[in-house]
């Protein structure tokens, strides 16, 4: 579904990603773990077409999208869940949900979104930035599901959430996976990552340092947590 080949990215003179190559198969949930500054968010932004200083190839559904602008990538089925949750202050909750066009074969109807997220329904006419952090995270995820995105690029969706909300985000990602949605997830919470993902990449200093499966991450959890500084 997603293939990244030799992707390098820069912020001015500073190189953030170095020849990164990885693949995510259709229906897979794959996480990127790494220290702060390792280049995880830049990798997601590059896949989404939001990072201008990059070199390499990004393919989605067997189509080279490297030269496509972000809006065309989104229309092909890429759904971005940014680390700041991307809530628009000047749009209501309903408008935040209905802003993106429907792009995939299985977009969630608004009724289904509100059924799954009753808190969003009760605040549907409020400005999205008036929601709590957890509700904004649900909004960010609900928005890409309503789009019908086939690949979710989720940047630390559990950061700052209570354990109950972390569980809800996990349930949501698992449900999306059951419906064939592919997920590339930046995550520091290893317990959460092994609970939802099939595979993991460790990103270090802009490079893929290791590829791991769930059992490997669980057996090395203490070592990895120490490395991540958590």
């Amino acid at each position: 579904m997603l293939r990244i080949e030799n992707l390098s990215a820069w912020y001015g003179e500073a190189q953030v990603l170095r020849e990164v190559s990885l693949e995510v198969a259709a229906g897979e949930v794959v996480t990127l773990v790494g220290r702060n500054g390792a280049g995880k968010s830049t990798l997601l932004r590059s896949v989404m077409g939001l990072h201008p200083g990059q070199r390499g190839t990004v393919s989605f559904a067997d189509r080279d999208v490297t030269k496509l602008p972000a809006y065309k990538r989104a229309r092909l089925g890429l759904g971005w869940v940014p680390d700041d949750r991307g809530a628009y202050a000047t749009l209501t909750v309903t408008e935040n949900l209905t802003l993106p066009p429907r792009v995939g074969p299985d977009p969630w109807p608004l009724e289904r979104v509100y059924e799954a997220f009753p808190a969003l329904y009760s605040r549907r006419d409020s400005a999205a930035t008036m929601l709590s952090g957890g509700e904004q995270q649900m909004l960010a995820l609900a928005r890409v599901l309503r789009m019908g995105a086939r690949l979710l690029l989720c940047d630390e969706p559990t950061e700052g959430l209570s354990p109950l909300l972390v569980q809800q985000v996990g349930d949501l990602l698992r449900e999306a996976k059951q419906h064939g949605v592919t997920v590339l997830l930046v995550e520091q919470n290893l317990h959460f990552a092994t609970g939802v993902a099939d595979r993991h990449y460790l990103l270090a200093e802009g490079r893929i340092a290791e590829a791991m499966d769930n059992s490997e991450v669980r057996s090395r959890e203490r070592e990895l947590l120490a490395y991540l500084g958590i």
Binding site: R45, M48, G49, L50, P52, P69, A70, Y71, A74, R75, W80, P82, D84, G86, Y88, A89, T90, L91, E95, T98, L99, P100, P101, V103, R143, M147
Partner: protein
């Protein structure tokens, strides 16, 4: 009491011009991140265009009120496509300098043809005279300006707040990059929005022609205050720009009326307010800190 009401009315009329200009600047800044220094020059072209149409072709005020915003909106779209969009990827300072240069070119073009003296523009006959408000009389033309501007702001607010086009413009104005990531071709909206902002400036110019001296520098005199209005309202905030426009109009009118013995205070009160607002809320009254994407 009647004096206060009259000053308040005058403030609202002055604020109406600020609101129209600031609204255009706000949508342009929001979507393009361009501080359009040439906004005052387009306001001047609106007024001058109305004057030239009347003086040289006999085109009346009402026709100019339609022709000039459309013509200037079109010119704005051409300029956006031809030069401004080429610099949007660079530091915003480049477009600020570009629009500053455009201002000088437009002003000098008008100066070279019509000189620097003010040209009179007669109030349309239908709007001459005064309206009796009981406690005071007020010029009909000024009542028209206030009513027209309020209606226009309400119409713009309705379009922005109640239609899908408005939703896209609000989203793209608030966070253009994020909006692209949600499948919306923000670039497609940039040129019409720039044209719309310029058209509003042109419209304000036509409205100003009968009550302000029409001369090549009339926009340059106004634009500094309009920038202060936009900063006070919050850069890129559509509601903030309109609210601050009327608010500053009121403060100026009250200052001129009640602080006339202290001209330094009445002339600088707008900038004192701006400094106070920036100290209290650096993003302006209705603005937000810049979001990451």
């Amino acid at each position: 009491m009647s004096g206060f009401l009259q000053n308040t009315f005058n403030g609202l009329v002055g604020g109406a011009f600020y609101a129209l200009l600031a609204l255009g600047l706000a949508v342009i800044f929001g979507m393009l991140r361009v501080v359009n220094f040439a906004h005052g020059a387009f306001y001047m072209l609106g007024a001058f265009g109305a004057y030239v149409l009347l003086a040289e072709a006999g085109v009346p005020f009402w026709a100019a009120l339609v022709i000039m915003p459309l013509a200037l909106g079109l010119l704005g779209m051409v300029l956006e496509r031809a030069v401004i969009h080429r610099l949007t990827r660079l530091d915003p300072l480049y477009n600020f300098l570009l629009t500053f240069g455009l201002t000088l070119i437009l002003q000098d073009l008008v100066k070279s043809r019509y000189g620097v003296q003010s040209s009179p523009y007669a109030t349309p006959a239908e709007l001459s005279g005064t309206v009796d408000f009981g406690l005071f009389d007020f010029p009909t033309y000024r009542v028209f300006i206030l009513g027209f501007t309020v209606l226009l702001c309400v119409a713009v607010w309705w379009v922005l707040g109640r239609t899908r086009v408005g939703m896209v413009v609000r989203a793209a104005t608030e966070r253009p990059e994020l909006t692209r990531a949600f499948g919306i071709d923000v670039g497609r909206w940039v040129t019409p929005v720039f044209g719309f902002g310029i058209a509003l400036a042109g419209l304000a110019g036509v409205l100003a022609a009968p009550m302000r001296a029409v001369n090549p520098l009339m926009g340059a005199d106004l634009i500094i205050v309009v920038f202060a209005v936009v900063v006070i309202g919050g850069l890129g905030s559509i509601f903030g720009s309109v609210a601050a426009g009327f608010g500053i109009g009121l403060i100026q009118a009250w200052g001129e009326a009640y602080l006339s013995d202290f001209p330094i205070v009445s002339q600088t009160v707008v900038f004192v307010v701006m400094a106070a607002v920036l100290l209290w809320r650096p993003a302006g009254l209705f603005g937000r800190e810049e979001a990451p994407a």
